[in-house]
């Protein structure tokens, strides 16, 4: 029997998996996890971004932190491993606001900005979003199964659910 590998995606990181392996990213707070799935060629990718936009940053030693850089990089990596852009579909989760301050300023809500930026980049790249679980105030763990092409979300105190 084949051994299922669990590939961990850290913060500001991305990776891909083919059956039977799984991708997992732990504890998304204001960060957003982007799962890209090619159900025809059976290859899946997962990125964990921290920031919406790389514009204005001089230190870009790790472009995988930024939504606008990480998503194209993930698509490229998927293509190199047999994925076809036409079949790519996205599932996204995260962008929470972990601490709710009464004086919350929406322009400072990095979680919401991350969510918006990810959607914009996906739209520009013409990748449809199948489902999303954004916002709120809970941390999330995201699990991507490359064999079933299913994405699961784990939160504290709640049952694991399919995205």
């Amino acid at each position: 029997m084949e051994v299922k590998k669990e590939i961990k995606v850290g913060i500001g990181d991305l990776n891909i998996a083919s059956p039977p392996d799984r991708l997992i990213t732990l504890g998304l707070g204001s960060c957003v996890g982007i799962a890209l799935l090619d159900n025809v060629n059976k290859v899946a990718g997962l990125a964990h971004i921290m920031l919406p936009d790389s514009t204005g940053f001089t230190n870009q030693s790790n472009p995988m932190k930024f939504a606008d850089k990480a998503i194209p990089m993930l698509v490229e990596k998927l293509k190199q491993n047999g994925a076809d852009c036409r079949y790519l579909k996205a599932k996204i989760a995260g962008g929470a606001s972990m601490f709710s301050f009464p004086d919350k300023n929406p322009t400072m809500d990095i979680g919401a900005r991350n969510g918006t930026a990810v959607k914009k980049v996906l739209q520009e790249m013409k990748i449809p979003i199948l489902s999303e679980d954004l916002g709120g105030s809970s941390g999330r763990t995201m699990i991507v199964e490359s064999d079933t092409m299913k994405v699961y979300i784990r939160t504290v105190g709640r049952e694991i659910k399919e995205l």
Binding site: G10, I11, G12, L26, G27, L28, G29, S30, C31, M50, L51, F57, N59, S61, N62, K65, A96, S97, M98, F99, S100, F101, P102, D103, I110, G111, S137, S138, G139, R140, T141, R154, V156
Partner: protein, 198 residues
């Protein structure tokens, strides 16, 4: 960059943390009516993953109170407790009450964070002559990874290494499952060091 601190500067920041946390520990002792000590503060300059690792696992459930720090050396104060410590602390604080509703515990956590954070910041202000203020406290009871990453990102710490001054509290000779962080915004440590003449 803030990562290129020399030994003398790191020592000075450790001392700043020491005075801040010493004050906070005294206040916590008075509040809980227990002898509370603290470990010598560390100046952590670590990749984010290692920062999480030294405290536990990403998905560990923690109770965290955050205060935003405004003024000359802005940043965030983050007080993280594991589940057991959080519960025992509020048990001590609310002893005498029979059934303690969850909201009352939340309120007590926030108040502990508030008092600790303010005594820490006030001590740093007295030492450095800087002017700093804190926000009201906000609480999160959630995964360690999510709480930590959000706090560092909120303090505009986006580089590959994150930086914090970190202390643990000790009660009856046992290190409690707590971490008390000052997470400075970029530039804040330089301001503190400058005011100390370093």
């Amino acid at each position: 960059m803030e990562n290129d601190l020399n030994e003398i500067q790191i020592d000075a920041l450790r001392e700043v943390g020491n005075i801040g946390a010493g004050n906070a520990a005294t206040v916590l002792s008075q509040m809980l009516n227990k002898k509370i000590d603290m470990t010598v503060p560390k100046v952590d300059i670590l990749p984010f993953e290692n920062m999480v690792e030294q405290m536990g696992r990403e998905e560990d459930m923690v109770t965290a109170v955050m205060l935003k720090v405004f003024g000359d050396a802005p940043g965030n104060i983050l007080f993280v407790m594991n589940e057991e410590t959080a519960k025992s602390m509020t048990d001590m604080l609310l002893s005498g009450y029979g059934e303690v509703p969850e909201e009352m515990r939340y309120s007590a956590y926030q108040e502990i964070g508030n008092i600790l954070g303010n005594s820490y910041i006030n001590a740093i202000c007295r030492l450095t002559g800087l002017s700093m203020l804190t926000s009201v406290p906000a609480i999160a009871i959630d995964m360690l990874g999510a709480v930590l990453s959000s706090s560092f990102i909120d303090a505009e710490q986006y580089s590959d290494y994150v930086l914090a001054i970190d202390t643990n509290f000790i009660q009856d000779g046992i290190e409690k499952g707590t971490n008390f962080f000052f997470i400075p915004k970029p530039g804040s440590l330089k301001t503190i060091l400058k005011n100390l003449g370093l």
